[in-house]
């Protein structure tokens, strides 16, 4: 069971490494806010 506990955490770490980054969308959103203001 200890192995499964380590393995499940390792899977999460790998997922964070391959997960998409969406920072550009936040920048667009702020720009639109300023434009609206």
């Amino acid at each position: 069971m200890e192995f499964l506990a380590f393995a499940s955490f390792a899977v999460l770490v790998v997922a964070w490494l391959v997960a998409p980054s969406r920072g550009d969308i936040a920048v667009v959103s702020h720009a639109e806010d300023r434009k609206a203001a």
Binding site: M1, E2, L4, A5, S8, F9, L12, A15, A19
Partner: protein, 408 residues
């Protein structure tokens, strides 16, 4: 005869009761942030009002129904009506604390359980209907099931393990929430307009306070201030963290961004799932329970949304599914190495425990679903469950309470 009361145990149990008390207003904030701003006061009021209502119901008749001397494994007797006989000496459930301390600790569980359901019917339920529902539900659903599991009733006699309320609190409230969502129907605008949370920061604050209070919920359920409480504390924290990480990761992969609200909901799902197991499993098991909570509860919520069930604040997905997973997981991972007074689960060589847990889960689901349906239908006939559409559009803060949350 010298008193057997332990100062340490009593202090821990009273402090735990206070921690669990905090969870109900914390739930109000958790839910309050998730609704639109026109309904935030009404949503917070649900939790705050239940804290008051059940505090009185419990001392008058709730405690004796749940924990009074057993009648046929079904319900407690009326011997302790208005707490007669519940005094400063230890009672039958805890040898080292005053009976009143045990009673008030249990009261806080009775308080938060119906409050959990309110997330399902948020933004559309008539306040009067909510009051009557809560009183009837506490009396005819919570009190009997608490007796079945913890008060010497038939599930406890069968050997069902539920350390802090996976079946009694979370399955009952989660299943009842699903029934309530189906009976009340969808909110006006559901599927046509965005019914977005109005304050995510309030929700994260609520989730954090829930997490804090949950240490009393689970570690306090050891009743004694010792190693078992410490184990429950550690596995509670671990499962909450693991479920938050898992939920956030799954939603990140699924929807492209690591959701803050997802992390908060995931933590609550982990806390729910570890609740029945917290006095029976070790830390490795708690990591797996948290992992399962994150995956199963997230998936359940996607399914309910796909089926267009308007469980407004995802009570069934988090509490119903999380509670069921926790109860089943207890039958898998329980070990007497953690709690010598309990029983082993499947992985420790006792597959029968898994069957007993399945019976407890099934009985809780069936009874709470049927009773909740009957109660709601009766209220609908005599009072009406929903506010009129015009009041729903206006918002419950104005239409039900004639107040506004924000002046800015």
């Amino acid at each position: 005869m010298p008193s057997t009361i332990s100062a340490g145990d009593t202090a821990w149990l009273l402090l735990s009761a206070a921690l669990v008390m905090l969870m109900t207003p914390a739930l109000g904030f958790f839910y309050g942030g998730l609704v639109r701003r026109k309904n935030v006061l009404a949503t917070i009021m649900h939790s705050f009002f239940i804290l008051c209502l059940i505090s009185v119901q419990w001392v008058l008749w709730g405690y004796t129904l749940a924990f009074g001397p057993d009648h046929g494994g079904i319900i407690g007797g009326l011997d302790w009506l208005t707490l007669k006989g519940v005094g400063q000496e230890p009672g039958p459930y805890a040898a080292t604390v005053p009976h009143q301390a045990f009673m008030v600790f249990q009261m806080m569980f009775a308080v938060i359980t119906p409050a959990l359901i309110t997330g399902a019917f948020a933004e559309r339920k008539r306040f009067k209907a909510f009051v009557i529902f809560t009183l009837l539900w506490a009396t005819f659903v919570y009190d009997p099931i608490a007796h079945w599991v913890w008060g010497g009733g038939w599930l406890g006699q069968l050997g069902a393990l539920d350390f802090a309320g996976g079946t009694v609190v979370h399955i009952t409230s989660g299943v009842s929430a699903l029934v309530a969502a189906l009976v009340l129907g969808r909110r006006v605008g559901y599927g046509r307009e965005a019914l977005e949370p109005h304050d995510a920061t309030m929700t994260v604050l609520g989730a954090s306070l829930l997490w804090f209070g949950w240490f009393g919920f689970n570690a306090g359920s050891a009743i004694t201030a010792g190693g078992l409480a410490a184990n429950a504390f550690v596995v509670t924290n671990t499962a909450a963290a693991m479920a938050a990480l898992t939920w956030m990761t799954v939603s990140w992969l699924h929807k492209g961004a690591p959701s803050v609200l997802g992390a908060a909901a995931g933590a609550v799902a982990g806390l729910v799932a570890i609740t029945p197991a917290s006095g029976y499993v070790d830390v490795s098991a708690s990591i797996l329970i948290g992992l399962g909570a994150g995956i199963f509860c997230y998936t359940a919520i996607q399914l309910t949304k796909r089926l267009r069930v308007d469980d407004a604040l995802d009570v069934f997905g988090v509490h119903g599914v999380g509670g069921a997973w926790g109860a089943i997981a207890t039958g898998i991972f329980a070990t007497v190495a953690v709690n010598g007074a309990a029983k082993d689960g499947l992985l420790a060589g006792n597959p029968g425990q898994l069957g007993i847990q399945a019976i407890a889960v099934s009985a809780s689901i069936l009874y709470s679903a049927v009773m909740t349906f009957v109660i709601l239908k009766l209220i609908d006939v005599f009072v009406g469950l929903r506010v009129p559409e015009s009041e729903e559009v206006l918002g419950l803060d104005a239409s039900q309470h004639r107040e506004a949350a924000y002046q800015i």
